[in-house]
């Protein structure tokens, strides 16, 4: 397993596209936090609630780690490198397992970097406005922790989506349509049940309970538990379907 993990890491190190994708996260943080400060204007104070609101953007960058995860398997099908991968390691379940680990960890690392950038940008804006930044605010830190977990979970779920759909374009389209359209529209149809859907579970975990959605969200721990279940389900489906399917 150690060799497989090193192999997956080497695959990522030798191409640029996944890193360009993840590099968008800190840029999103700069834009998101700045946008929040600018739109707040002078009528509303920059307080601890605003701090949590600013750092809630960490969770939103999980859309990028989702696509990053999709690239793991669907990207190998796209470039037909999956054949060589399975010729090297006929135990396909272990290959998918290594991809889940490596992408999950890098999803978390991406979340940590987004958080650092977000904290830096927020603190700079607060200083610029002459407001003291409350570093010890626990609500902000749980928001950050939830956002990092959400990044990791969506990277792993992305690996699963890519393994199930296999077509790179199809998988990315399905995932983004789900997050941007389906969950919202279906959510209105099923009302209260919408809180159990994966993106809303992520919101409960990492986006804070305010401002970003009108839907009723689960408590933070509930969102975390539901997201963990989705992650495990996608991981198991990724392994079982990859082991069975013909590669041609």
């Amino acid at each position: 397993m150690h060799t497989l993990i090193r192999t997956e890491a080497l695959k990522l190190r030798t191409v640029r596209s996944p890193w360009l994708l993840l590099a968008a996260s800190p840029l999103l943080m700069i834009a998101g936090v700045s946008g929040l400060v600018v739109s707040t204007g002078t009528d509303k104070a920059l307080d601890t609630a605003a701090q949590s609101g600013a750092l809630a953007h960490v969770g939103v960058t999980s859309i990028l780690t989702l696509v990053f995860g999709i690239l793991a398997v669907a990207g190998e099908y796209r470039h037909k490198t999956i054949t060589d991968t399975y010729l090297s390691t006929p135990a396909r379940g272990r290959v998918i397992g290594a991809k889940l680990v490596v992408h999950g960890v890098l999803g978390a690392v991406s979340g940590v970097l987004s958080s650092l950038v977000g904290l830096g940008v927020a603190a700079a804006w607060w200083a610029d406005k002459g407001v003291s930044f409350e570093w010890s605010d626990s609500s902000m830190w749980t928001t950050i922790g939830g956002g990092i977990s959400w990044n990791a979970a969506f990277a792993a779920i992305g690996v699963g989506v890519g393994a199930l759909v296999r077509s790179l374009v199809g998988a990315v389209a399905v995932a983004l349509a789900w997050v941007a359209l389906v969950e919202g529209i279906v959510g209105q149809l099923i009302g209260d049940l919408a809180r159990w859907l994966p993106f809303n579970a992520g919101r409960a975990l990492g986006a804070g309970t305010e401002a970003m959605t009108t839907a009723d969200l689960l408590p933070r721990w509930g969102g975390g538990a539901v997201l963990a279940v989705y992650t495990v389900v996608f991981a198991v489906l990724a392994v079982t379907t990859s082991v069975r399917r013909d590669v041609s």
Partner: protein, 285 residues
């Protein structure tokens, strides 16, 4: 399987009354790559996709030390057969064995079998050298082999370049380099001549000849019959997923018939044709 037994006789460690006994049970020992016989056994191999039978009850052997051509019209089931041999496609029935084992049961598959498949690809943004480094790492092969195989296929100067900028011939050479990386006993090549220029073709022919002479097993599918006629010792011919001929090339062309004429005759005739049956059976046994 007789070949693995021959290998084991050298490991005899018990003698009694002048007779020697192999007192250990080797049935579960992993077979080291260099102790492999390298024979390929296709036994009743069948693949159905819904109602379509792509490969139908195929049985033949491929021997070490010779180059075997794997021929058939488009859609004959060649690629599906090779993919089943390599564990990428699961057979509906039958077995495809390398040294008596399924591909997935080989302890070090990259050291045992090298494959060039038509559908194998490369990430366009990754260099040829990095592609090979990944395969070496995953296959437990020393990194120093990467430079050796790049040099062997004539890509030493292009290894650092992204594969996206390679010509078709260069990609074929890179695929060949990947197959040779683990110094495997068995080589399986699906249309390796595609996209190669005349010089590349000659290089490939020499390489396959050398490998066969060293005792490797070489199974190569191809459309280019004139190329096959110059390269192979034995041929296996498929049509419609069934076996039409398996045997020496010389036997096929013994009556003055060209390979092309024999190929067209064998692949156009229905497999129930008594003439074909008569040709196939003795040659295969």
């Amino acid at each position: 399987m007789s070949a693995p037994d021959a290998g084991r006789r050298e490991q005899v460690i018990g003698t009694w009354e002048g007779k020697t006994f192999d007192v250990r049970d080797h049935s579960t020992d992993p077979v080291p790559a260099d102790a492999m016989s390298g024979g390929i056994t296709i036994d009743g191999l069948t693949k159905r996709y819904g109602t379509v039978t792509a490969v139908d009850d195929l049985t033949f052997d491929v021997e070490p030390g010779v180059v075997t051509g794997f021929l058939g019209p488009n859609g004959a089931g060649k690629t599906t057969t090779l993919r089943m041999l390599l564990g990428l496609v699961t057979p509906t029935a039958g077995r495809a064995l390398i040294d008596g084992r399924r591909y997935a049961e080989l302890t070090e598959p990259r050291r045992a079998v090298g494959a060039v498949l038509e559908a194998t690809g490369f990430h366009p943004g990754r260099s040829g050298r990095d592609h090979l480094r990944i395969l070496a790492l995953a296959g437990g092969i020393p990194g120093s082999r990467v430079e050796e195989v790049l040099d062997r296929v004539g890509l030493a100067d292009s290894g650092h370049r992204r594969v996206g900028g390679y010509s078709l011939g260069m990609r074929q050479r890179l695929g060949l380099a990947a197959a040779l990386l683990g110094e495997p006993k068995v080589l399986v090549l699906d249309e390796p001549a595609n996209g190669l220029d005349p010089a590349g073709m000659a290089d490939l022919r020499d390489l396959l000849r050398d490998l066969a002479d060293e005792g490797h097993t070489v199974l190569m599918s191809s459309h280019v019959l004139s190329e096959v006629a110059q390269t192979v010792d034995r041929v296996v011919i498929l049509a419609g997923g069934t076996l039409r001929y398996a045997g020496p090339l010389t036997e096929l062309t013994a009556k003055g018939e060209t390979l092309e004429a024999a190929f067209l005759r064998l692949t156009s005739a229905p497999d129930t044709d008594p003439a074909t049956g008569a040709t196939t059976a003795p040659a295969h046994r």
